[in-house]
């Protein structure tokens, strides 16, 4: 019974933290989703890739942090390093995404496949999955909130399960993003999305570079 209440708590915590997750991932999800082709089915596929990879990133990070005994309070040095590297990688992927969208659209605009990163289309990884995986490491406030509670549990398996249920709660808030599939895609929308991605990438790159240089930015 106690186990059920713990997971109920994880779900409620996830649902309550969802808006913060949505706001935190919004700069990555919204422009990249707009850069994809229209259609709710394709956009739902994008989100499933994004959330699935984010889930993997979440659990991986939680498992490693648990192993190091630092799930809640990662020391400032490694924390800056991890978040800095993630931001630089995120910036690189967003730059690539912005480039790949233009490239893909010039060749096979009618295709119903997602934009891929690296290699020919069949072997490439969906950009959504790469972005999702990287945002899973972002150490956003909801993640830390879940970490505090998960760290109190007895075993790593329970902690990961707690994270999984928490993740389901937060993911509900991402469902409305599917409605972006109804936005008609034309040159204007795709160009705006690509330009926005580039601007956001520049910001993340700056943030990451400053962290790697050991400078504090916005409370990290």
């Amino acid at each position: 019974m106690a186990g059920y209440s713990i997971f109920g708590e994880a779900l409620v915590l996830g649902l309550a933290s969802g808006p913060a997750c949505m706001a935190s991932c919004g700069p990555v999800v919204v422009p990249s989703l707009l850069a994809e082709r229209a259609g709710t089915r394709l956009n739902a596929r994008y989100l499933s890739h994004f959330l699935g990879a984010r889930f993997v990133g979440y659990l991986l990070f939680a498992a490693v942090a648990w192993g190091l005994g630092a799930l809640v309070s990662l020391p400032p040095g490694p924390r800056l390093l991890v978040v800095g590297v993630v931001h630089v990688l995120l910036a690189c992927v967003l730059f690539w995404y912005a480039y790949a969208v233009g490239h893909a659209c010039a060749q096979t605009c009618a295709s119903s496949k997602l934009v891929t990163i690296g290699g020919p289309r069949k072997r490439g990884v969906p950009g959504a999955a790469v972005l999702g995986f990287l945002t899973g490491f972002s150490l956003c406030p909801p993640f830390v909130a879940a970490g505090v509670r998960a760290a109190e549990l007895g075993s790593i398996a329970l902690a990961l399960l707690f994270f999984a249920v928490f993740f389901v709660g937060t993911s509900v808030w991402f469902v409305p993003f599917v409605s972006l599939g109804w936005v008609r895609r034309n040159e204007a929308v795709t160009t705006v999305a690509r330009m926005a991605m580039t601007l956001i990438a520049l910001y993340y790159f700056y943030l990451g570079a400053m962290m790697l240089m050991g400078r504090k930015v916005y409370g990290y």
Binding site: A23, P27, P31, T191, M195
Partner: protein, 370 residues
Amino acid sequence: MSVLLTLPIAIWSFLMFAHFWQPNRSAQIAIIMTAVFMIALFFMMMRTRSTYRWRRWFFVAMGLLFPVGFIHTVIAMRGTMGIPIEEMIAGRTPFCFLPIPLLILPAALTKTVVFPGSILPGRGMAGAGMAAMAGMWLAITIVVGKGWCSYLCFFGGIEEGMAAVVPRAKLKKIDTRWRYGPWAVLLATSLLSLALFDSVYCMWLCPFKAVSEYVAARNTLGLVQNGIFIVLFAGLVIALPLLTKKRTQCAFFCPFGAFQSIFNKTSVFDVKIDRTRCSPCVLCKTACPTMSLTDESIAQGETLLSCMKCGACVDVCPKDAAVWHIKGTEVASKPERARLLLLYAAWGMAIMFGGGIIAQGLATILHVFI
């Protein structure tokens, strides 16, 4: 007839400038000069039936005199153009209209205003407060839509002045996709403002920080931010308008301009192309300072959503095919009446908003001599 048509504006000017009246002699002279200037320009608009060139005199004067008055006030009250973090924490940052669209998402989702200013009238530079500013913006915007960017923006005049300096453009071929820039900046800064709980445009991308006030550069962060402001100002407000004869910051960058474009749908005033008269010579397309006319839009008899009702296309058209229009009426039925109604609304607000700015800037300069 021109005198009669100018009379309501003269009365409105009298009421407004009487409100600005101060015991200081330099301020009094500045107020009288500004009132005469505004009434004379309106009279010339009526007499010559031309809008753009007379409006430009006002707009450039406002753009050039705003920094003069504002910087003087900031230095008198605070001793520096840099905003110290203590002032931000105390909510004494002056609020301008540019971050309005960026505040909407955080306010809607969290009931929080992510700007370090005061909602109600506050002490120091907080002035009338955000609520008054936002209320005034909304009222004006509903009426004139993106006309705000031609009659009320106190920054746009600097680049319009720069664009007017050169006789012809040196850079003529501009990729039309740059027109999407303001929407991209709006999307990126809105999302980042929500994610970071910060007015990202003000902190990172506003070119006009270079001529108003800036984040005090006490560390690397402040240094980088100020570097960006200066580069953007030099590029978008000075160099590119000189090369292209366009309002490049407004056309390719300003997120507020993109947001205002949406309100062109609510405004009853717009500009149409009368296809029965149009040749098309595309002089209007060349004259438009924000690239709001394309071959396709001219063929459809429309301007693009980004039209800011400056009147450049209407004035340049040799066949009177570009016309002022009131929605719901027939195109080119009574264009002069549409122009008059728009000008009464826009000029009335320009006197209220820009008149004070011009008078304050002039008073600052006159104060040196008197």
